[in-house]
């Protein structure tokens, strides 16, 4: 994936992903924000398509309005700019489990065709110890209790796998009805935004299908980067390229978040 702006387009594949992830929050009221790419998207959404979006971080901040990208979920500016700072048990019990959060925005180490997530361990083959990932964090209950779930991650066969080594967080299980059977209140994953395009679950099968490509990306490229035989929607849209305003806002957030400026 290109990390620097290309001469022909003036933006990177990461920027395409981040801008499209931010646009997905245009209608959201409240967003439970995961660290990393989801945090970039949510903060960009506040700076562009949804200035009133309420950002909620699991460290206990409700309504954070940072002026730069936080380096961690406990960044001081998240607390300093919040409408309220609450305890972690209150966050998970009253606000998340209480069904008061609209959108959960998650990243993932591995995702399968039903948008189930693994962030726990990966199998590295016979005679090798399983590879250690950070663990579940807030994701299992975010995916269960938020009204709906958006996901953002870079697209490769390492991430988009045929079979998860471990199910940390349920997306759509093994198909339609699984979430309902488990009594999960939220709708689960509704879109997976990558640096190549957008996947959405087919309402009939709950399987992720390719519904949009970023400008300049081909269906073949996405197929090659997906670890299962990817279904492609009858009509595949092309996402709009980032506007100059979106790009400027994204780059300003990132530049302001440079660690050298954050430290004492």
């Amino acid at each position: 994936m290109n990390a620097t702006p290309t001469g022909t387009t003036g933006f990177t594949s990461d920027e395409l992903m981040e801008v499209n992830a931010a646009r997905a929050l245009a209608d959201a009221t409240t967003c439970f924000v995961g660290i990393g790419l989801p945090s970039t998207a949510a903060n960009l959404a506040r700076a562009t398509v949804n200035p009133g979006l309420v950002l909620i971080y699991e460290s206990g901040t409700i309504g954070s309005k940072p002026t730069r990208l936080p380096l961690s979920i406990g960044d001081g500016e998240l607390a300093d700019t919040a409408d309220a700072v609450i305890s972690v048990p209150e966050m998970f019990n009253y606000w998340l489990q209480g069904g008061r959060i609209d959108v959960g925005f998650l990243g993932a180490a591995q995702v399968d065709r039903y948008a189930n997530i693994n962030t726990t361990v990966v199998d590295r083959g016979p005679d090798k110890p399983e590879g250690r990932l950070p663990g579940a964090g807030g994701a299992p209950e975010i995916a269960s209790n938020c009204g709906k779930v958006l996901m953002v991650l870079r697209h490769s066969t390492r991430n988009f796998v045929q079979r998860l080594d471990f199910v940390t967080t349920l997306g759509h299980g093994s198909g339609p009805g699984d979430r309902k059977k488990l009594g999960m209140p939220g709708a689960g994953p509704v879109a997976v935004i990558t640096d190549l395009g957008v996947l959405r679950p087919d309402p009939a099968t709950a399987e992720l299908v390719l519904t949009a490509l970023h400008p300049g990306v081909t269906v073949e490229q996405v197929r090659a980067a997906t670890g299962w035989e990817l279904t492609v929607a009858d009509t595949v849209d092309t996402t709009e390229p980032p506007t100059p305003d979106e790009l400027a806002a994204l780059r300003a957030l990132k530049a302001a978040g440079k660690p050298a400026k954050e430290t004492r």
Binding site: L71, G76, T169, L170
Partner: protein
């Protein structure tokens, strides 16, 4: 009632080999200086508990003092993996590390049950997740009123909880504010409690959203200005993000790690200064 005493004495008195030890702090107010004192004193065979083990737990694990970790997310926030944690889990260096793994919601509720002196807590959690297959501290319970099956998580009652706070008064009452995470629950769940503070003040001034832990629920208070570095204490310091990034290459290499611990923790006296 809390005694106000030196960090060295408080750690020696309150933390013992084989203890279950929680050093909480949700990115903010992490008790680094106390953990370094544990490393200097070589207190070992610990079961470490924390929702978000970060760099300080990486240091304790790499120093070979830990036999088990109870947690829900282990990483260097905003930077990447904890390499000492990974090396211990994947390769058994410097010793094998047993894991008891949960979700954040589960861990938070385990502390709530511990603080409430209940045997377990109930949540609508872990549904569809493989996590319960690898731990014996998650089970299910049927609601006696509705018949709904819910997750049950075993109470966490650490032998010792250590937290860092902004202020204490001379009687040993403690106040912390900003992101207060799960520190109150972790303290109230524990048998013994040590709080390191930025300073002693004549009188605690109530802060919006602040938490006061009265002296009678604390065993010892130690004054350690900067004791949360490289994390931070709102009102006193900012997070040293450069340190968190600098930790990554140090922790990747066993020798570099050992040298760092020897030079910056084992052979120093008192808190690590920046």
């Amino acid at each position: 009632m809390a005694d106000i005493r030196s960090l060295q004495d408080a750690v020696a008195d309150l933390v013992h080999d084989g203890d279950t030890l929680a050093m909480e702090g949700f990115t903010h107010l992490i008790p680094y200086a106390a953990a370094h004192e544990v490393i200097r004193q070589g207190i070992t065979d610990l079961t470490l508990v924390r929702m978000t083990p970060d760099v300080i737990y990486d240091q304790l694990i790499g120093a070979g003092l830990v036999r088990k970790l109870v947690f829900s997310w282990g990483g260097n926030p905003g930077v990447g993996s904890l390499h000492r944690l990974r090396d211990a889990v994947e390769n058994g260096w410097p010793r094998p590390l047993e894991l008891d793994e949960h979700s954040h919601a589960g861990m938070a509720n385990r502390y709530v049950a511990g603080a409430s002196k209940l045997p377990f807590a109930v949540l609508r959690g872990y549904r569809g997740s493989d996590i319960p297959t690898r731990t014996d501290t998650v089970s299910t319970v049927v609601c006696p009123f509705t018949g709904e099956e819910l997750a049950a998580v075993a109470a966490l009652n650490p032998d010792v909880t250590v937290i860092h706070a902004q202020q204490a008064d001379r009687a040993g009452n403690v106040q912390l504010w900003g992101l207060t995470g799960v520190q109150k629950e972790a303290a109230l769940a524990a048998e013994r409690v040590l709080v390191t503070v930025e300073e002693i003040v004549e009188e605690l001034t109530p802060r919006p959203g602040g938490i006061v832990l009265p002296t009678w629920v604390i065993d010892a208070v130690s004054v350690v200005p900067g004791g949360a570095h490289p994390s931070y204490a709102a009102g006193y310091s900012t997070r040293d993000n450069t340190f968190y990034q600098a930790w990554d290459p140090i922790a990747r290499d066993r020798e570099a790690f050992t040298q760092w611990i020897d030079e910056n923790v084992r052979t120093t006296e008192g808190a690590l200064t920046r």
